[in-house]
Homo-oligomer: 396 residues x 2
Amino acid sequence: MGWTTSLRFGCETDCKTYPRDCISENLVRRIADRMKNDGWVELGYNHLVLDDCWSAKKRDPRTQRLELDPERFPGGIESLQNYLKNRGIHLGLSLNYGTVTCRNYPGSLQHLEQDAHRLANWGVEYIKLDSCFSPPDQLELGSEMFANYLKDTHRPVVFGCTYPAYINWTSDYNLLDWDKLVQVCDSWRWSPPTDGSWRAVRDTLNLYKRHVYQLQLAAYEKHWNDFDALALGNYGLSDDQKRVQMGMWCMHGSPLMISADFDTLDPVSKELLRNKNLIAINQDDLNYPSVPVTRTGENIQFWIRQLKSIPSTVGALTIINMNSGGITVSFAFSMRTVFSVLPHAPSGYSKLIDAFTGTEFAVVSNHQKVTVPVNPNGIVLYLIQPVLNGTRENCH
Amino acid sequence: MGWTTSLRFGCETDCKTYPRDCISENLVRRIADRMKNDGWVELGYNHLVLDDCWSAKKRDPRTQRLELDPERFPGGIESLQNYLKNRGIHLGLSLNYGTVTCRNYPGSLQHLEQDAHRLANWGVEYIKLDSCFSPPDQLELGSEMFANYLKDTHRPVVFGCTYPAYINWTSDYNLLDWDKLVQVCDSWRWSPPTDGSWRAVRDTLNLYKRHVYQLQLAAYEKHWNDFDALALGNYGLSDDQKRVQMGMWCMHGSPLMISADFDTLDPVSKELLRNKNLIAINQDDLNYPSVPVTRTGENIQFWIRQLKSIPSTVGALTIINMNSGGITVSFAFSMRTVFSVLPHAPSGYSKLIDAFTGTEFAVVSNHQKVTVPVNPNGIVLYLIQPVLNGTRENCH
């Protein structure tokens, strides 16, 4: 969990026109202050990632080392790290396995070992290795080599891979070595690069559903399918679409990386990103994957996830409606289906708690049919809490 | 201007599950009440269009006439028309030039004359002829025949064509007879059928920009390029995207057809749809087309429109930012460019009034460079009001 420059600040380096928004020491400090002072760090968002364009345009001509851009980061790495560490924030940086990065900064293709050591020495705690301008057939090996160089440093660095996103594995699962993926990477971007639009969110969720069994095989015990940064807090998602993205990124256990400006965060995004139910679903200790209820198609998806970290809660169920137009649909499901995946309530009754609002939606019997309204581009997400005393308070 | 079932209510005919939302007399009355009581009619939204699925599943077996579905419209056409006329609302209905409609209701292919007379006799004041399941090479002729049958009735019916949307004219302008288009149709859907998503809005606006000169040749004096129904008030657009759609539909003079539920209209959409500046731009008596400032690409568009109906206002300028991610860009333009299209202010100064808020953004000289911030998926739209007394109150 954390914050990244990627979707919002991209490669803005024009500090004259955009003094508040350019990738710079000032931006890092401005964001770090908000992360700490507004309690984001406490909520778990404790990584700050510079995704590209943080380095000087050229390597040091003598040592060939990467440097922070001296004009935009005049204080250098030590001052930057002090600022972050004083606020409990871990620095993340992106490299690229190519001659240049996606945005034409120095690449790491001939410098894997040097760059791994450099960033580890800087105390960087998360490294993303991007894959622009790289031959697909070398990506896997490059990431493996980099991971080994990182391990040699004996520093606790989380390694975020991206190469699955650049390999057409959805056409042939054998194009990826899935065992190696888990050995090499802590997380991996698995879907095509996105722009944070609703179309990208929807396509990513639909693609995940199509390949869910393969993707879930890999993601266990501190290994994560990375769905890419959250677009919440920017300009392209409706309120319903924001709920879908946050809800499903949490149901699917994706890393939660905010890429917005805390100074202009809209209230709906803020509330969603800070929602403790959703964060708890995302961070659940059990880390079981959500199970798709397969009778639904892509336009209506129905997922159930077993949970253990939220008090009184055995799991969560969610329904999303991917239709772009139309009316709010009434979606009916049986609690029998839900309890084919989750532990039963001994009383025979369960509460459904709206994870977005924290309010009780209904108390239902364990074999009851339940009907819920789901907006186009919308979601419902309920925590399932067995009623232990066996009394039926209210039946919806 | 008006309201249509198309995007929101589509072909919902299940009145048991969706009693409030199914295409029916009840829906018409519910919407008509809101249109009248909330002042939509007074604002100019005075058409109510049933876009498909209003008829019985079969023609009358004896007369072959179309009938309103007797279960969903038990009161029949007369009661429906009385209800609407008492509220100052004109009824619109959709037909389809095919054996069946887009949603499998009776088509008008062998019944053009009969259906033209039927709907005219019913006092329908707007007819849309849709083009599903029709051979593209017959569409033009079919619409022409229908228009002639309509003219024979001597009723004042506005005829909305759709056939350009089903012909690949963007690849070859000669595939459409543009003179005939203007003779036959009052308005025409010119872009591919859309679903009201942001992608559709953006693609429509970009397509218009690419073919603007051809499209503008046709749209003059009570002839309109129909950009399709507004998605505002539904679930798929962010607030910035809502502003883009409403702003540009107005700048381009498209018919403004709301397709939302007034009972659940969000405040941002409501304010935009009721914005008198925007409506006045849309309805301007001069009906000059917006002029694209061509040095911009598709991601940033800059349009200027000459106006005459808004007091003190010679025109409007708008800038839209189609980027889906990134920061708010600073866009610079010269007022010289603006006044290469618009009448000059004798004083040499003009006010820029934010059309969305009605507030003054700046007073600028007629040769000044102006810089404005534009969000991703966002828009700025200013009314241009010459300062007649010649004093420079404030210079931004």
